[in-house]
Symmetry: C2
Subunit: 419 residues, 2 copies
């Protein structure tokens, strides 16, 4: 069997460690040159495949590829673009086959969340459907931690660590100021539907460093009176408190507490700005001085404080994807399997893609305390191993050194394609 080329693309919101998966994938592919020729990356995700805008990763030297492991963001560009359904419009799929044929692509690797798992699944069916032999493997990535089957999602551990560290630090700050100034600090974090990231804020408080923290989960309906009563109680008892609020928190009317009215290509509401809403409620209801922050992209780009476990798992997912593909496993996704909590041990598993696509894993109710404002011991036991270890990038003159690849284009062989 002669070597065929591979296609790799990054999809959706990028993370601090998605490039670590790319690193694992490319380094592993390079060790199997007899089976995998070149790894072509899609420039800006699947759009690169559709427009035949391919990047030849073989032009990058080993040091550049190695540096992907410590570089946040998507080195080849990502996109928010969902393929049309095959039944409604097969044009895009026909084009993909055309591009794959033109560049002898036999392996399709798609690195993303739930939406891209669905895309990857569709591509995996092209093999039968359109008679084009291709092995499609999805590589999990999402800060939202909402993919099923896998114990956790690469990208999440590093955001969780960022949020836990930041909440601890800001809480120390507020505690210092509370006598005459700020008593409540509100931090808004990501998480449209699932409260995993907000939950990580609860990790900031440990037995040896207790911190009064209230968490507002998207899973729990926001009730203003109950919330204000808890803030009041916390501030009376501890002098201050920190509030971690998920961007996806909704009120009793089912509406997001704050909604900018924008929608992305997938039709998801574009959120932001719930922190000032919550902070002003505290001011109006309790007349307490507040500060608020919105971590936004900082939380998912913060490679400088990435979780070592997360980096290792992200790399392992990229590596496992190649090994699965070489084993002829079509329509699958490597997963993280938790073996034990203490000591934390994990291994690589595999999931069928049709069990992954379009399924959202919510926080189990028993991960949230009965009052709805905190995390349970069970949740802590789950989360805590995921933020373990530091994996610092190299620095030059005080700044982290992140790689920018050459991203040399592959010569086009086809005509244009209009998206």
């Amino acid at each position: 069997m002669s070597a065929r080329n591979a296609f790799y693309a990054q999809s959706g919101g990028v993370t601090a460690v998605i490039n670590a998966s790319a690193c694992g994938l490319i380094e592993t592919a390079r060790r199997h040159r007899k089976r995998i020729g070149k790894v072509y990356a899609g420039r800006n995700g699947i759009i690169g495949a559709l427009t035949e805008d391919l990047i030849d990763t073989s032009k990058e030297n080993a040091a550049a590829i190695r540096a992907l492991r410590h570089t946040p963001s998507g080195a080849f560009g990502s996109c928010r673009y969902k393929l049309k359904s095959f039944e409604k419009d097969p044009t895009e799929y026909e084009r993909l086959i055309e591009v794959f044929k033109a560049h002898d692509i036999g392996y399709f690797f798609y690195n993303g969340g739930g939406d891209s798992a669905d895309t990857c699944l569709k591509v995996s069916r092209l093999s039968e459907r359109m008679g084009y032999p291709i092995v499609a493997v999805h590589i999990p990535k999402t800060v939202d931690n909402d993919l099923p089957i896998t114990d956790n999602c690469p990208g999440f551990g590093s955001v969780a660590k960022y949020v836990a560290v930041s909440v601890r630090e800001a809480s120390f700050d507020v505690a210092s100021m509370a006598k005459t100034s700020t008593k409540v600090f509100v931090l808004e974090v990501m998480g449209r539907h699932a409260g995993w990231i907000a939950a990580a804020g609860g990790l900031a408080s440990t037995r040896d460093t207790a911190i009064p923290i209230l968490i507002l989960f998207p899973e729990i309906e926001f009730q203003q009176d109950r919330f204000l009563a808890r803030v009041d109680e916390m501030v009376r008892r501890h002098g201050y408190c920190s509030v971690v609020v998920s961007e996806g928190v909704k009120g009793p009317d089912g509406k997001f507490l704050s909604d900018q009215g924008l929608r992305d290509a997938f039709g998801h509401a574009q959120l932001g700005g719930v922190a000032p809403v919550v902070a002003n409620l505290v001011k109006q209801g309790l007349n307490l001085k507040f500060h608020w922050g919105v971590a936004d992209y900082l939380q998912r780009a913060a490679r400088h404080i990435a979780s070592k476990i997360d980096v290792e798992q992200s790399y392992a997912m990229g590596k496992a994807a190649v090994e699965l593909a070489l084993g002829g496993r079509n329509a699958v996704m490597p997963t993280v399997v938790r073996k034990s909590n203490a000591p934390y041990r994990w291994s690589v598993g595999v999931a069928q893609l049709d069990k992954v696509a379009n399924v959202e894993k919510m926080m189990p109710r028993d991960y949230i305390t009965r009052d709805g404002f905190g995390i349970t011991a069970k949740c802590r036991a789950y989360l805590e191993p995921l933020i373990r270890g530091e994996d610092y990038p190299p620095y030059r003159n005080g700044l982290p050194v992140y790689v920018r690849l050459q991203n040399a284009p592959v010569r086009k062989r086809l005509g244009e394609f209009r998206l």
Copy 2:
């Protein structure tokens, strides 16, 4: 001469490294037990002195004091409280003398910014004015970097590093997303009147890692049309851009672009929320998809990414304060003196407090590019050494280990004092 006790207090907004100054001060005082008896810290700053709420730092073991070096926030509590003028109401000063006498305090160390330098100056004059022998030394601290004479202010370097690192990371993120999604990222940073912190965002772009960044300084009047034209140009040329906006930016009407209407004890406007204002202007004016973040307390509490130079200088200021006091230098402040840029070399100097109090150091106009949206080479040469080096705290289970002192109270000897 028998040993007299020392009083130390933290004032105003805390930083990632103010405790490093406390560490330097206490460790140095402990090496001079013949001259300095105990170091008493004010619980919640000067309020602790007025209410005789003193903390006996001699109860803390050497490891706890050493850990202050890597612990953000104010370990003894800070406050925003300005003493009344002596002429209008000498009551507070009389009370201070009473407390100092009761606890045999011969050294007064005040760790803060411009307002506290003024307080420290007033205390230094009590010696003559009220016949009580005391040596008062101010220790510089302010993330705003707006104290005169000293080359830079302890606390600033670490915020600058946080902002530079964060802008670099978020910019990598936006660059990945720009093809189909976010094209403009807006980060709001601190800095009421001086644009030093915003300027640090410019450091994210270096010769080897160029990034399109626009900075909105409080020193430069915000002109919407000019700003939008530059954003448009940046996005057309680079596909994306990052905007760093100081909370203190004002429009042509002289008003803050965003003002929550709150004021602190010093009468300063409490700001926040200029990022969403700027982001929405971009949306309305250019129809570009945006994200925005507000770093708020995260930036000044981020000990996890503190500048090593900043930590060293903060420690050195605490140490120098003790040495100045032992040399009988009243009404002074240790300073950072820059000896050279390449290689960066600095030493400890000394400033007369009456030259420091109530003087605000603004960004020199030639630190800002002519168009008002960037930093000049001169500015970069000034800023760059201040963010050099990493000084990571210890970690346990994925979280930084920050010390909480016992903060044992000193037995009171006086009656109550109503603030």
